[in-house]
């Protein structure tokens, strides 16, 4: 059974069809790419998966459970982890705190009465798991710095780490290379591949950078004007004529 099944997702905005019956599946442990030119509907699709937008038609199923009508935070608890195209970090918090907050949220052990009795401090096992993730992502040296003091590349790693702390079944990466230079992109790709190999987390990647997608995803979907125009293995898709036309224009 597929881990994620999006079936016929349709979304209209004031007369414009942003998504027209888009279907997509991700198997457990698989790395899937979703590409398409600007305005193709990638972000809209992403938002429909995450519950930030409510699709006008279609269903989203995660591990056999229909989550089409669940709010974002419930989907996160069921196994979605995500990063953002435009960095969304918790201002003023340290890197370690980002991970610890996510860990506490995953465990769901926070209680108001525990706060009042000062029983809410991070436990040894929470600290240990945070430490582990910090090392996995190479963030140990900045663990106690506020996130404002990080480069974009490392900031994105904090987002990845925060998502990983919730033990996601599926990691949704929204243009992870945006704003990064070639070197940082390369480093991010390496780290993500390590993480995927170590944890067996499935990844759905929305990306502009074709090189990044080529090295990372095994299977691709291509969106253009709200419809899927191609799908298949990465090499198949990237050489297909329809895809080249969508990206490069009719005449080439």
């Amino acid at each position: 059974m597929a881990l994620l099944e999006a079936e016929g997702i349709t979304k209209h905005f004031a007369g414009i069809t942003a998504l027209d019956a888009v279907s997509l599946t991700v198997e457990p442990g698989e790395a899937v790419g979703l590409i398409g030119p600007n305005g193709a509907g990638k972000t809209t699709f992403f938002n429909c998966l995450l519950g930030i937008l409510r699709p006008d038609g279609g269903t989203v199923t995660l591990a056999g459970r229909d989550i089409t009508r669940l709010p974002t935070y419930r989907r996160a608890r069921l196994g979605f982890g995500r990063t953002f195209q435009r960095m969304e970090l918790f201002a003023g918090m340290t890197v370690r705190d980002h991970l610890l907050v996510a860990e506490r949220s995953r465990l769901g052990t926070g209680r108001f009465w525990k706060d009042l009795l000062n029983l809410s401090r991070p436990t040894a096992s929470e600290q240990e798991r945070a430490e582990h993730t910090l090392e996995l992502l190479g963030l140990a040296d900045v663990a106690d710095r506020p996130v404002e003091a990080l480069t974009l590349g490392r900031g994105r790693l904090v987002e990845v780490g925060r998502a990983l702390m919730t033990e996601p079944k599926l990691l949704l990466l929204d243009e992870p290379s945006s704003g990064l230079d070639a070197h940082e992109t390369e480093a991010l790709a390496v780290t993500l591949r390590d993480v995927q190999a170590a944890r067996g987390t499935a990844v759905l990647l929305v990306e502009h950078d074709v090189e990044f997608v080529r090295t990372f995803a095994t299977r691709l979907y291509v969106l253009d004007f709200g419809t899927l125009i191609a799908q298949g293995t990465t090499t198949e898709v990237l050489t297909a004529d329809t895809v080249r036309r969508a990206y490069l224009g009719e005449t080439v």
Binding site: L50, I52, P71, T72, Y73, R74, A76, R77, F80, G81, R82, F84, R86, M87, E88, L89, F90, A91, G92, M93, T94, D97, L100, V101, A102, R104, S105, R106, G108, T109, G110, R111, F112, K114, D115, L116, L117, N118, S120, R121, D144, R145, P146, V147, E148, A149, L150, T151, L152, G155, E159, R162, A163, M165, T166, G179
Partner: protein, 677 residues
Amino acid sequence: MTDLLTYVIQGIPFGCVFALVAIGLVLTYKTSGVFNLAFGAQAFLSAAVYYDVRVRHAWPMVPAFVLAVLVVSPLVGLLLERLIFRHLRTASPVAKLVAALGLLVAVPQIVQIWLGKGPTFGIVGVWSDDNALYRFGDFVVDGREMAVFVCTAVGVVALWALFRFAPVGLRMRAVVESPRMTELAGVNADRVSASAWMLSSFFAGLAGVLVAPFYASLSPTDFTTLLVAAIAAAAFARLTSIPLALVGGILLGISQGLMAGYLPPASLLARNLRPTLPFLALFLLLLFWPGLRTAIQSKDPLAGVDPPPLPPAAEERGRFLTIGTRVFGVAVLGVLVVCSLTVFSSYWLLIFTQAAIFATIFLSITVITGMGGQVSLSQATFAGIGAFATAQIVDTWGLGVLPTLLVGAALAAAVGALLAIPALRLGGVFLSLATLAFALMFESVFVPLDWVGGGIRPLRVPRPAGLNDDKMFFLFCVLVLAAVAGLVVLIRKGTTGRFLDALRGSDVAAQSIGINPARARILAFAVSAGIAGLGGGLLATQKGIAQPADFGFFFSLFFVVVVVTLGARTVEGAISAGLGIMLMPEILKWAGLSPSWQFVLFGLGAITYARHPEGVLESNKRRSLAFVERRLPRRWRGPGGSGAPPGAAPAADAGALPPVAAAHVRGGSIGDKLGGT
């Protein structure tokens, strides 16, 4: 049938006045992203100017009208835009709201100080004869109403013509439609926003001058009602459509007219409902008007034109200094407490007792605004609920005062949670407006009821046994304050506080790791309301009576303004705010100034919030700590050195760099210098 029409026509003049202010609200909101709560105050100002020159100095109508409506009103708008709101362009919605709140508190007080204590009777309108009667078939219209009809019609037609034919109108329309596209097309949005501010302030001023003759004397309260009605009309227009704002205002006026006509004049409904209709309408519209929730997505039209300013960096100072400042703070408070108990006179003991009580109430704002990131304008109402509940329960069931204080707090917390459940769907400015509407509704509908505010019977609260002595009671208040402060610190450090921090940092990101935003915020609201309720009960116990006058909505605004100015994030902020509002009148008295100046000073102080979101106090503390730290031996310094005053960097610094990268440039250099020790 004629009755119906008569009532409708009676309602229209007020409706027109509501509509004029509502048009201004929509115009500035769409062009500058500011929901200008100060329009009510600006209307009051223009009415006062007109009254002063027309009545006191006996100017003829035309020059008086020109001065008050055509000169002063737009000028005030221009000044506000230039001096304050232009610099808040990219500030958070909360910062914009707080600045407008500060003005709403300060401006009417300035006007009243200027008007003096004397009576302001005999307000004259702009019509040749206010009492002249004009017959149109069966209907009779007097001069004041004629003035409203004519001026509104002229104003609306002029606005239409401006939008239709003048270049500035076209640009304004473009900015209203899409500010970002307009900027990209090379239109100077600053100038457009300045024109919009002048234009909308002109409408507010016109409304003020037109509505004044309907009242017996000039009082800021009437203009608050005007403001709330206008907000309701603007909410009806979903804060986007000027024609709908006009329709909304007139509909509200007509409903008021119909109620005046059809409800039996002596009935409870008529007495309570009619004057509170705008409050009720606003509350219901905010909660149930479809489209308003989706309108929220465009809440900050100009955000994104420039990169937003950096949030204040986390404190990076050394352990030594953190402990040092805490010890110092506690020592100062300790000395104050000991002196109050031994040296100070009973007058000063009373002042410090009330300071402790207000500090307790202010801690509720630390929770909801500092931690929760929401501006609630009903904290004094929650304090009132606590006070009335304490008084009523002690009176009815004869329970002990101490346990009853807790019951009152619990009741306030429950009301807070109930209010939060629908209001939190709104968020941002709308949430604040909903709490404002709730505060006004509570004050005018519930407080007059016997079982709430006691009616004509004063609600006495006895002192708890063993605390009859003022010194003992002072100690008790200090203990309560310490306990609540400890509670707030524990919540802030605990899971609840961390989750709220995460939500404040980034709502979407917090949800993406499974944090339920509604649950965390309802909890914050309930805790905050509970703390306010406890403080309110304490205040009533201290005074020996629960008076509605102590818990009016104006105090809610004032409290928020004071706490936010001094520092909403920290317990010290709340304590200094408590000391501040008790000591400020004493300082003013000593300086020979009217106590009203305290509202002016704190109100204008709130405008600094955009520059120091952590509060003036905290910002100065950080700056002086950075100064001390530079002179300390290396091993005592903090990890980041804290050389830069955090959060003080204006947005312009960041230039085109994305926020995180910009922070790296600034923060990184400091870290490198100190080797990250």
